[in-house]
Amino acid sequence: MSERSAAGGEVIPLDLTRRRPRKPAPVTPSASPAAGERARCQQVTASGRPCRNYATASGRCIVHADDPTETGDQERRIEEAARPEPLAAAEWEAIAAEVLAFARRRLLGDYKVDPYGFDRELTEQVLMPLARPLYQRYWRVRTTGIESVPSGGALLVANHSGTLPFDAIMTKLALLDEHPEHRHLRELAADLALRTPIIGPLSRKSGDVLAHDDDALRLLADGELVGVWPEGFKGVGKHYRDRYKLQRFGRGGFVEVALRARVPIIPVGIVGAEEIYPLVANVRWLARLLNLPYFPVTWQFPWLGPLGLLPLPSKWIIAFGEPIATDDYPADAADDPMAVLELGDRVRDTIQQMLYRTLMGRRSIFF
């Protein structure tokens, strides 16, 4: 077998777009693969199709390695996933009543928001359901290691990419839908997001706050899960050729916050967001004119007109890493620039490694 082992310290190919010899897709990937062909994963994807990622030694791909369900019996499980449940009449009525009650509460202002402006009801009933088709069908997001996100206060640090920050929305949804405690991620947003009409109030209502130390510390002290994208615009607006190369992590403000709040840092690697709007040029003068950090020219924008706003349907994997504890640092470590820089580098390296590893498990950009 010409199988590469992930553990062997070899050079990791980054260019995943290169062509592979086309072969007819095997009908049952769990059956013995053709000679010379790498084994495919034996697991079923969320949409009920057999997973076509290459398998590692365990017989599954890197995405499904932690899946608790049994392998095999693929046909039966595919069939089950395909058959919709008939909706009982009573259920239907309950849904109608719920929708009407929701409409009434919204119309009369009978709902609560927290002091930061987080509107739980709106987020759970309207905003996240709007993002869910993107998550489940369009980008077919898979997560790994989400159960390692603890239940108390924690600072989640992720790579940023994609020209428009869809990665933040998908991470939020991943934690709400797939974390055992259905946690809401409180994201530290850029001021550009909060000052933009319509987007600003909506992101506030979905739980975002301005990236300000005071707010972040208070949220962490309250046991909230706070998310930060330290690369900022340097990450989200970077050239496509720099994909999956982490940019500078700001000035390490997030490390100081985690050290002060004494909460663990959870490194997160998001794969797939780089390819939704591959940015090939930045029109600087237009960006300056519009007071934006960059004005993107992507594969599809502005060439395809309004259609160019449609992101590409890449395959996403969000990998949640093991928490990095901060409580073994001394109490005044936040005021020690060396400690802050060192921890910041550690987090950055961890995320970079996670990205490389996850990229290896992905068969192509789109599948």
Binding site: P86, A89, L100, L108, V113, P115, G117, I198, P201, D215
Partner: protein
């Protein structure tokens, strides 16, 4: 001197909040004497408060402080809207020059021990770069450059100058959030009384409100039991402007941002709402102060949350509702009934097999 009871001088006594404070101090046995200074006499029936007609801008103020032998000065004589006094330049003069004179006189008053100055959370400005909850020490990016908020910023500067030069004084600065209630009249209360409420399209600020009873309560506490420092005073919690409008049963009319100055001009001319530039900014981004220090160090727990303050205000001012909650609830019931009647046909299409058929028969 403490055993003789406090002697309190309140400026701006014609203001309803000042009147309420004076009434509470009258009822307090620890307060020996209450005097109120203003240009106009208060309407409220005050019993033992002595009214002194004086202009804060004149040096006469020093004589008032001296002759009344007060140990506590409560400075509430700050005008919030130009309409009240006939023009912005006069308002600025009354606020800034008046406070300067008053606090200069206070510096020279040997008997004075305790100074309370009313300020506003508007000193933080309304800016998207402000933290979600603004603490008292935070240096905000956009200090207000106009209107009442700028005056308040300057008054605070004088107050801090005074406490620097007179370290023996206890200086309490209370930054009150937007105050609502049965008697106060502010641009915000008038805004909610409009038949339809104009908002800015695409923006939804968070509001933090203070019930006037809590404003008076906090001022009373600062007067009789000084805890020097600067405190945000507001009801706990926030509501969105859109939510507040719905609670009030009003209809919001979102307008494009460039139209707002024009609308503000119209409202000002018709005498309905006195909206200044900084209040337009408030309609974009709002502002919310952190009240942890008020609760923990100052030791005051507001009785009304932001939402309760709004509800009490709507109740007390008899603000007309365009949307009746009972009508909405009735409509909900009606719709649900219609859906129930429609169900059999709708369901046979959706459900399959015997379950659907049985449903039709029953």
């Amino acid at each position: 001197m403490a055993d003789r009871g406090r002697r309190v001088l309140i400026t701006g006594i014609a203001n309803p909040v000042s009147c309420a404070l004076a009434a509470r101090l009258e009822a307090d046995e620890g307060v020996e004497y209450v005097a109120g200074v203003d240009l106009v006499e208060p309407d409220a029936p005050l019993e033992r408060t002595e009214f002194i007609r004086a202009d804060l801008r004149s040096p006469l103020v020093a004589k008032v402080i001296e002759s009344t032998r007060v140990d506590t000065l409560v400075h509430l004589g700050i005008t919030t809207t130009p309409g009240q006094v006939g023009g912005r330049s006069r308002m600025k003069e009354l606020n800034v020059i008046g406070s300067m004179q008053l606090l200069a006189a206070a510096q020279k008053a040997p008997r004075l021990r305790n100074v309370v100055v009313r300020s506003t959370t508007a000193v933080y400005g309304s800016h998207y770069r402000n933290p979600s909850l603004i603490t008292e020490d935070v240096a905000t990016d956009a200090p207000p450059r106009s209107g009442y908020a700028k005056d308040a910023t300057e008054v605070e500067t004088y107050a801090r100058g005074l406490s620097r030069r007179r370290p023996d004084l206890t200086m309490t600065i209370l930054r009150l959030a937007n105050t609502v209630g049965p008697t106060v009249e502010t641009p915000l209360t008038k805004y909610f009384a409009l038949p339809v409420v104009p908002t800015v399209l695409g923006y939804d600020p968070r509001l933090q409100l203070l019930h006037e009873d809590d404003a008076v309560g906090a001022l009373e506490r600062a007067t009789v039991d000084p805890h020097p420092g600067i405190y945000n005073v507001a009801g706990p919690g926030v509501i969105y402007l859109s939510q507040a409008i719905r609670i009030a049963g009003k209809v919001a009319v979102p307008l494009a941002r460039p139209l707002m100055p024009w609308l503000a001009g119209m409202l000002r001319q018709s005498g309905r709402v006195d909206f200044a530039a900084d209040q337009l900014q408030f309609l974009l981004y709002g502002r919310v102060g952190d009240i942890t220090r008020l609760r923990e160090r100052f030791g005051y727990e507001p009785r009304y949350s932001t939402r309760e303050a709004l509800e009490a205000f709507i109740e007390s001012q008899g603000i007309e509702r365009a949307i009746d909650p009972e009508a909405v609830t009735a409509a909900e019931r009606e719709l649900l009934g219609v859906l129930r009647r429609l169900r059999p046909t709708g369901d046979t299409a959706a459900a399959e097999g015997t379950a659907g058929a049985e449903e039709v028969r029953t």
